[in-house]
């Protein structure tokens, strides 16, 4: 019934239109179909197009997720392509925010490149599948000695296999615009979250007429924004790692309430940069560089390079300090992570050559010194630190360096076996989002979050998709990995 009516309209409309493809029917019978033949030709053309000829050279593919050092690495890769005598062609492919997704799809389709920047999520997911090569199999004694200081059992060395070598490190800091602070009459950067809220409001009330606001964060994606800010502060404040208590072996998010209440104020209209809710990190940085934002939090390894190369900003104008906590409390250490590490695809057909490329490009001292001096990451290799003359940023801004407030933290269950632990409802980031936008009551929402994470954790143990994680005698001020 309905269809007939639709059909009627279809036809009526077609006839009414009339103009379709000229006069239909009169010259009908003489025409033949060459549509099909073109179709065939077209599709074969498409097929041959995909088989890009690569010559006899061995092609080694490298994938990266890092924007901040992309130009530096590209330059080194180009140089390598010109000078290497092994007939190797290196292709450097930059993914950005969709890196993990791309790796996932590539693992499934067997398109995984030979070398990839190490990233925790992708590393954890496939390490037990034998996807990453054991670097010890290829390293000579010299190389082992050279990197001995950055081997951390439980982090990059698991069961006596080495999967990646971090050469630089990162943590999170509060970045602030010194000029704006001066203009607002604020003598010192904030040490507590309470001060930070007050400072932000002060800046906004004094300078918003000029389009300058106190605080911004890239809140478009809650996880991306909070991982570099709130979460890190909370690690120091509570001594728990993203809500996980390694002594008790359970989650507890309830201590987050105080911080979140202050964050709600921080993000309120009389404090935050308008449009924070839909801001990505790079637009935020352009606005910071343009002097429109008083402070924001981000990774220490990336920002100097960004303001030197991507969005130029006078080095004197900005500095950074530790992320403020509620009342300045410090009950633990905060996130530190190795960067500059690469994993090698164990299933690569050119495994030997891939390692050679990795070794030649990414582990030679020139590269590492240049990397540190260029401001792409703070070196954690003693010999590089001794040799390098880092840029003014690293000489003058002491909090850009890794310090004793930062440490490698053990992995809570939801990172250790991410896909085995199914949390019902919104994750911690989204839950925080609903709290600081005032859509949920902090205490009730956090209590609920605690219950949901603990249940998911227990279910994972029960279903054998996860395992119990407890570290006897764990001291948040002096964290152990296992």
């Amino acid at each position: 019934m309905r269809l007939r009516r639709i059909g009627a309209i279809t036809l009526a409309a077609l006839m009414a239109a009339g103009t379709l493809a000229g006069c239909s029917g009169k010259t009908a019978t003489t025409e033949t179909t060459n549509a099909q033949t073109t179709a065939a030709a077209e599709t074969t053309a498409a097929a041959s197009d995909t088989k890009a000829a690569s010559g006899e050279k061995t092609v080694i593919n490298i994938w990266s997720k890092d924007r901040h050092d992309a130009s530096y690495v590209q330059e080194k890769v180009d140089q390598y392509n010109k000078t290497n005598t092994d007939n190797i062609q290196v292709n450097y492919q930059l993914y950005t925010d969709n890196y993990v997704q791309a790796i996932d799809m590539a693992v499934q389709s067997g398109e995984l490149p030979d070398i990839m920047v190490q990233q925790d999520q992708m590393f954890d997911k496939y390490v037990n599948e034998g996807q990453w090569a054991n670097l010890y199999d290829f390293m000579d004694e010299d190389m082992k000695t050279y990197f001995k200081d950055v081997i951390f059992p439980g982090y990059n060395e698991l069961d006596e296999k080495l999967y990646f070598i971090p050469t630089t490190g990162t943590t999170c800091r509060l970045f602030y615009n010194k000029e704006i602070f001066e203009r607002a009459g604020i003598a010192e950067p904030p040490k507590t979250l309470e001060e930070m809220v007050a400072d932000s409001k002060l800046i906004t009330s004094k300078l918003s007429g000029e389009g300058i606001y106190g605080f911004a964060e890239n809140m478009k994606s809650a996880s991306s924004g909070l991982q570099r800010s709130l979460m890190v502060g909370l690690q120091r404040e509570t001594g728990l790692v993203n809500g996980y208590d390694f002594v008790k072996g359970e989650y507890d998010f309830t201590p987050w309430a105080e911080s979140l209440k202050l964050w709600k104020e921080l993000l309120s209209e009389d404090s935050a940069f308008p449009g924070c809710e839909s801001l990505d990190i790079d637009p935020l940085r352009t606005q910071f560089a343009a002097g429109k934002i008083g402070m924001y939090m981000s990774y220490s390894h990336a920002e100097p390079g960004v303001y030197q190369n991507q969005f130029p900003m006078d080095s004197d104008k900005w500095d950074c300090v530790p992320i403020p906590t509620v009342g300045g409390k410090t009950n633990g250490k905060q996130y530190f992570s190795g960067t500059g590490g690469y994993v090698i695809n164990a299933k690569s057909p050119n495994l030997e050559k891939a390692f050679k490329v990795y070794k030649d490009i990414f582990t030679n001292e020139d590269y590492l010194v240049g990397y540190y001096e260029g401001g792409y990451g703070v070196s954690i290799l003693p010999s590089v630190i001794a040799k390098a003359k880092p840029s003014a940023d690293f000489q003058n801004k002491k909090w850009l360096l890794i310090s004793d407030i930062d440490a490698l933290l053990p992995k809570p269950p939801h990172s250790a076996f991410a896909s085995g632990m199914v949390v019902e409802g919104e994750d911690m980031y989204k839950t925080c989002e609903s709290i600081y936008y005032g859509d949920a009551d902090p205490d009730a929402a956090l209590k609920d979050l605690t219950d949901r994470y603990n249940k998911a954790y227990q279910d994972a143990i029960k279903n054998n998709t996860g395992y119990e994680i407890k570290i006897p005698g764990y001291d948040p001020q002096n964290p152990k990995l296992q």
Partner: protein, 294 residues
Amino acid sequence: MTEAYAQNKKMKKVHLSDKARVALISKWVFLGIMIVFTLYPVIYTVLGSFKTNAELTQGGGFFPSVWHFENYYKAFIQADFTKYTLNSVVVSISVTILAVTTTSLAGFVMARKDFAGKKILLALYMSMMFVSLGSVTLYPIYELLRALKINKTIFALVIALTGGQATNVFLVMGFTKGIPKELDEAAIIDGCSIYGVYSRIILPLSKPILAVVALFSFRNAWNDYITSLIMTISIPKLQTLTVAVVQLKYSVNSAAEWHIMLAGASIAIIPILIVYMFSNKQFIAGLTAGAVKG
């Protein structure tokens, strides 16, 4: 048109009263607003693609102060848009051809022939038109193409974008039913086989509806984002224009390169604009025909 009617009309013209004038003016004021509303984003994109980033982000005139054609050079060369454009062209044309040929063949037999299982098949096609699971079905499609080992080629994207075509098959079927059966019968008497009937009678006569299928298949393939994104995510060299443009948002310098983003957007919309200019009547007519598509 009767004489009285014509006269009546003429009379009205003479009496283009103040009231009518006001009506005419208010009609065009309203339409003017709608036209600005509709065209502004497009004009913004095209004009913006010739501006500098500063003009775009810090304010500037409506027109670029200097026309920066090199934005396009940058997009084509540095952002590799030549490759993506080629991909888009190959994919869209292949999808169009695949869609037209398969629906035309299937629509013909569905309209004209009886065969075992026809009822079940029709019911299945019909149900798929109304069951909409959305983009999540891309995952099983991707898995299937992986199992068939064609996921690394541009074929995979072409197949996924062409899809089941249930609605188009119905459209062609409905149209074919409207072609007089006597024509087939005469041809058969003249000694035509089923292939002859199809290629000599049905195919030429169903050109209008096939044009509609072609036009809309092309548009959908050219404009698609999600399917193309998923199918090419681990094989960036197969990305289409639309995907590449949106991904510019995440590129190294995106925040400082709005002008390149708009140049990319223009590269993606201008070809379809040109197609539209030459075929807007077909598009509009086709839309009504494709109404079932929803």
